[in-house]
Symmetry: C2
């Protein structure tokens, strides 16, 4: 049922729903209505139903959704029914923070290799993963069949690292460097701009005044 | 013209448009069409027009938008025509990365105070800002009339810090701790979940296969 026309906002909400369903499931709750989900995550019930409707029929009218089934189905839609093999390039402050970020592992994103060009970092380990020199990136990422690359290097190195990741065969790149990267069309690229989060806040602070 | 009904996805796109307009303006381009903006940022021209229409009439039919005016207008909508006074709490790896993040300052988010409870960090400076003990948070944040708090402390400390920020009078909180925080309704709260970015990628990688 997947198509390429699903709005990104829907995908992000599906991610939020699945986290909420994980919580609900832990409490031992068996069935849930779209209204309960809506209230739990702070959107309208109609939005929940619309988001889920992109992916076919779920639930039973008047009964609601089976929590475990719906959670499993959403995780599958998001591509999270399997683990993903991730490489991280650039072990500065942000890279360190990302390596220690528990939320990745919980959702099945496993950092299996780390690269840096700082000789004082190479050979050390982060969460049991050895830091390797960037010169080995293409070989190791290819060998590991790594699917996702996270770029947390300075702007000046970002395109070179991107080219190496593409050469090594990754399918997707998450870029934290504030620079526009060139990738072939078959590579999924997402740029993370942390300032945007603050801008949503300041917009809302402003909107309260009207 | 602002209302509370603007979709968050629109706000995020406005942020993207404004960055693109900054680039275009630097190149000395005077006017731009919605089609040009759309192509530059990778959305449809109809989407650009729809997003801008939330905020009234811009541009001249057949001529397009004046780049400088449109950029200024969007920044004003986003609340970025003034600088924001920001405090950062928790100077771990992520806190360090956020303090060094140039994108904040470029968009007018100025980190004017930093707090931590680690005595080896207190008294040191980050980008000219002294790290202070958490005990001084309420007093200093109040005195500085700080509007935004960034939380990059461990989960166990996040609610306590939130309460202190609220007590000190911030209007908005950006939370990086993976925990649900309780705030009064007048406080704008945004939780940043870095794993969601990977999930949008894996969804798209999956969607390509269908």
């Amino acid at each position: 049922m997947k198509t390429l026309k699903i709005p990104e906002a829907t995908i992000i909400r599906l991610s939020v729903y699945s986290r909420y369903l994980t919580e609900v499931d832990r409490k031992g709750i068996i069935t849930i209505s779209s209204g309960d989900i809506a209230e739990g995550v702070g959107v309208s019930p109609a939005q929940v139903r619309k988001d889920l409707a992109y992916f076919g029929e779920f639930g039973t009218r008047g009964v609601g959704y089976n929590v475990k089934d719906l959670r499993r189905h959403i995780l599958k839609i998001l591509g999270l029914s399997v683990d993903w093999n991730v490489t991280l390039v650039g072990l500065g402050n942000l890279g360190h923070a990302l390596c220690s970020y528990k939320g990745f592992r919980e959702r099945g994103f496993i950092i299996t290799s780390i690269f840096d060009n700082d000789s004082s970092k190479i050979g050390t380990t982060m969460n049991g993963v050895e830091v390797m020199p960037v010169e080995q990136l293409v070989e190791v990422v290819k060998q590991n069949r790594t699917q996702i690359g996270i770029i947390s290097v300075p702007v000046s190195a970002a395109q070179d690292i991107t080219d190496k990741l593409v050469q090594a065969g990754v399918q997707a790149i998450l870029n934290f460097a504030p620079v526009v990267l060139n990738v072939p069309p078959e590579i999924e690229l997402r740029n993370v701009d942390l300032a945007v989060n603050l801008e949503v806040l300041t917009f809302n602070v402003g909107a309260q005044r009207f």
